[in-house]
């Protein structure tokens, strides 16, 4: 009998040995079964990777995390007929609570399909949204996005429909769609998973965006740190061209659209939209002053939509199911679902797509199942390296842009990084400043110089030098950075620092023992 066995081809699955597992499975010689190894995308249940799935009459049955050494044993115990009982057997994939309790819209295909198979994509509702969009007028398309309530998933949460309207209304001979795939926030990987598991959703979203605003050219600005995503995107784009979903007269319509992928070059600030545009133009990735808005004067000074991977990849779903059905999810002004990302010291890490409104605690303790180390958790950083550190006492807060703003926290791109009680929050605060030293684009003084002073001041506090004076100095330095920086790099670097000071003051009180001596590790900053 032919058995279909799925082994994900995704950076994270590969990073823990998925290729070796796939190769070993393909070479198995089992009497009554012949194994058909299929390379799917990942489901995003990353703590279980490599997650091997076997197709059975009841549905796909999961085993994980599987190593090469486990395979003989698994096959002996009846894995190929979906038998349970082996310690790595997880039952039906769709019944794993971490997955079952999610509300997957943007990620509905992740791990189910073969990422670059356009047939799989179409068999799972692919291009339905596009077909509908092409039957509407550009203004109707923009209105559909407005009605969905979609806000940018890159971090700033700006309403996507309003951005598109500005570009649609602008008169120009050329307009652009730029996809921000720079995903610089530590603790986040949703863009990466999206691009590697379901690249056609992004492509479809970009085509719809282009049609809605009148742009015929799209760029994906991808971080250089994602080599596997680069391969997948290039392959998907070339297949889409071959099938006439990109290029001239898309899907038989009168609309032309093309996409090019460009690589970044290891610069965090290039995730900021105007720095990104400079970088695409071949310049230093320095932030531009606004106005002019990129929507009016963006890439090569033309009206440009800059949207995050997730914002664009959600567009096909909105068009396929209708704006209202998307807007039914969520709370307040945060409509739809958000792909949260659980990382750091958690037992169950991965992608959790849910309607806005879930609490930090539910994410960390229910989905995440507590710490990986078994020690008590002490802090969670939300929203990347510029995000606030929250103590457990604040974890009842709901994941909603406005609710988080009330406690000076940000949702950002949806990353949640948990730390156990061995973390030294003084060290984390220092790192936040150090990161700003390394990554500042150098345009404004509070960010460029303030961050260097920040590191020095934290070092002095931790060395017990004029403690109170230096704490006061750090506070005033933080407010100068918050108030005097052009972009969120300098403007939000103080968030992790101030929250560490506020909630974990005792960590700044440690007198350094010799084994913990601070070694100045200031990495090279930009020249």
């Amino acid at each position: 009998m032919n058995v279909r066995v799925y082994v994900p081809q995704d950076s994270t699955a590969l990073s823990v040995g998925a290729d070796d597992v796939a190769q070993k499975l393909a070479k198995q010689d089992v009497a009554e079964h012949s194994i058909d190894v299929i390379r799917n995308g990942s489901r995003g249940l990353f703590w279980l990777e490599p997650l091997v799935e076997v197709e059975t009459e009841r549905g796909r049955v999961a085993y994980g995390p599987v190593t090469v050494e486990d395979i003989d044993d698994l096959i002996q115990s009846g894995m190929l007929s979906g038998k349970q009982g082996h310690p790595l057997a997880l039952g039906l994939t769709e019944e794993i609570p971490f997955l079952k309790n999610q509300q997957r819209l943007t990620f509905k295909r992740a791990g189910i399909t073969r990422p670059t198979s356009i047939e799989d994509y179409q068999a799972h509702q692919g291009f339905i949204g596009l077909t509908r969009a092409l039957s509407m007028s550009p203004q109707e398309c923009v209105d559909e996005i407005k009605d969905s309530g979609l806000r940018g998933r890159g971090g700033a949460a700006f309403p996507t429909g309003i951005k598109w309207q500005t570009v649609l209304s602008a008169e120009a001979d050329q307009k652009y769609i730029v996809c921000n795939a720079d995903e610089g926030d530590s603790g986040t990987f949703a863009d990466r998973l999206q691009m590697e598991a379901d690249p056609y959703a992004l492509i479809e979203g970009m085509i719809i965006a282009g049609f809605a605003v009148g742009a015929d050219k799209g760029y994906i600005y991808l971080r250089e740190e994602y080599p596997h995503s680069y391969t997948v995107l290039k392959e998907a784009i070339s297949i889409a061209k071959h099938h006439k979903f990109l290029g001239a007269a898309i899907n038989g319509s009168a609309f032309d659209f093309d996409i090019e992928v460009r690589l970044g070059a290891k610069s965090y600030v290039c995730g900021e939209e105007t720095a990104l545009l400079n970088s695409l133009e071949g310049k230093r990735g320095v932030v531009r002053a606004k106005p002019p808005l990129p929507a009016l004067e963006g890439l090569f000074a033309k009206p440009t939509v800059v949207n995050n991977v997730l914002s664009l990849s959600t567009v096909p779903t909105i068009f396929a199911n209708g704006a209202d059905s998307y807007a039914e999810f969520g709370m307040g002004r945060s409509r739809g679902t958000m792909p949260f990302q659980l990382a750091g010291n958690l037992k169950q890490t991965g992608l959790v797509e849910l309607a806005f409104g879930v609490t930090v605690d539910e994410l960390i303790n229910e989905f995440g199942a507590g710490s990986r180390s078994g020690r008590p958790l002490k802090a969670a950083q939300l929203g990347g390296p510029l995000g606030t550190y929250l103590p457990p006492s604040q974890w009842k807060t709901q994941m909603d842009y406005e609710a988080l703003a009330e406690i000076n926290a940000v949702l950002g791109h949806g990353g949640v990084v948990a730390f156990d009680d061995t973390v030294d929050m003084g060290e984390q605060a220092r790192f936040a400043m150090e990161f700003c030293v390394v990554e500042s684009c150098g345009k404004c003084t509070p960010c460029r110089i303030g961050s260097v002073r920040g590191v020095e001041t934290i070092d002095k506090i931790r060395a017990n030098e004029n403690r109170q004076d230096n704490i006061n100095l750090l506070h005033s330095l933080c407010s100068t950075m918050v108030n005097g920086s052009l972009c969120a790099m300098g403007g939000m670097t103080p968030f992790p620092v101030q929250s560490a000071l506020e909630h974990f003051a005792e960590d700044f009180d440690r007198v350094e023992s010799s084994s913990q001596k601070i070694v100045p590790t200031l990495a090279k900053s930009r020249t």
Binding site: V16, G187, G282, F431, R526
Partner: protein, 167 residues
């Protein structure tokens, strides 16, 4: 036999020719040169500047801005250790130190035989299986302190293998 200078010239010309038609071609050109020569030689700047109608200073400004481009040659293998928060949360700082010790290098340094460069990186998108490290096009996750030497050995032995193939 080609001289070193001729080789550099050829790579630079190829990179420019391959990308000159693009809108905003400078980063793609620099990526190709960096990947083939493992740095951007000073001698390339004039040629690129002229071809793209830029000043040499502008090209230099771009090269010096981005961490991916180096003016000194990188090693044949680059090991990039993630220093960011998710990796820190599961022992990343110790892993950083292990790599430094195993290679006898600090971040940004290249071994004296020109084989290996150690670099830092701020997130590989592999945070759900932190700590993470990248070697060339491969990413490794869930790295343990005792696993560091194996990664370093593998990187070096692959280098030796590719050398044999080239001979």
């Amino acid at each position: 036999m080609q001289t070193e200078t001729e080789n550099v010239e050829m790579v630079v010309v190829d990179a420019v020719v391959a990308h000159q038609h693009l809108a905003g071609p400078l980063l793609p050109i620099l990526h190709q040169i960096q990947s083939e020569l493992r740095h951007i030689p000073g001698s390339a700047l004039n040629y690129i500047a002229k071809a793209l109608n830029l000043s040499r200073a502008e090209v230099h400004g771009v090269v010096s801005y981005y961490h991916s481009f180096t003016t000194k040659p990188h090693g044949k293998t680059v090991i990039e250790v993630c220093r960011a928060e998710s990796c820190q949360a599961v022992g990343g700082r110790k892993i950083e130190q292990r790599f430094k010790d195993a290679l006898g290098l600090d971040f940004g340094e290249t071994s004296s035989d020109g084989n290996v460069t150690l670099e830092s990186v701020y997130c590989l998108g592999n945070c759900a299986c932190s700590p993470s490290v990248r070697v060339g096009e491969n990413i490794y996750g869930r790295i343990t302190e005792s696993g560091v030497n194996a990664i370093v050995d593998k990187a070096i032995s692959q280098l030796a293998k590719s050398k044999e193939l080239n001979q």
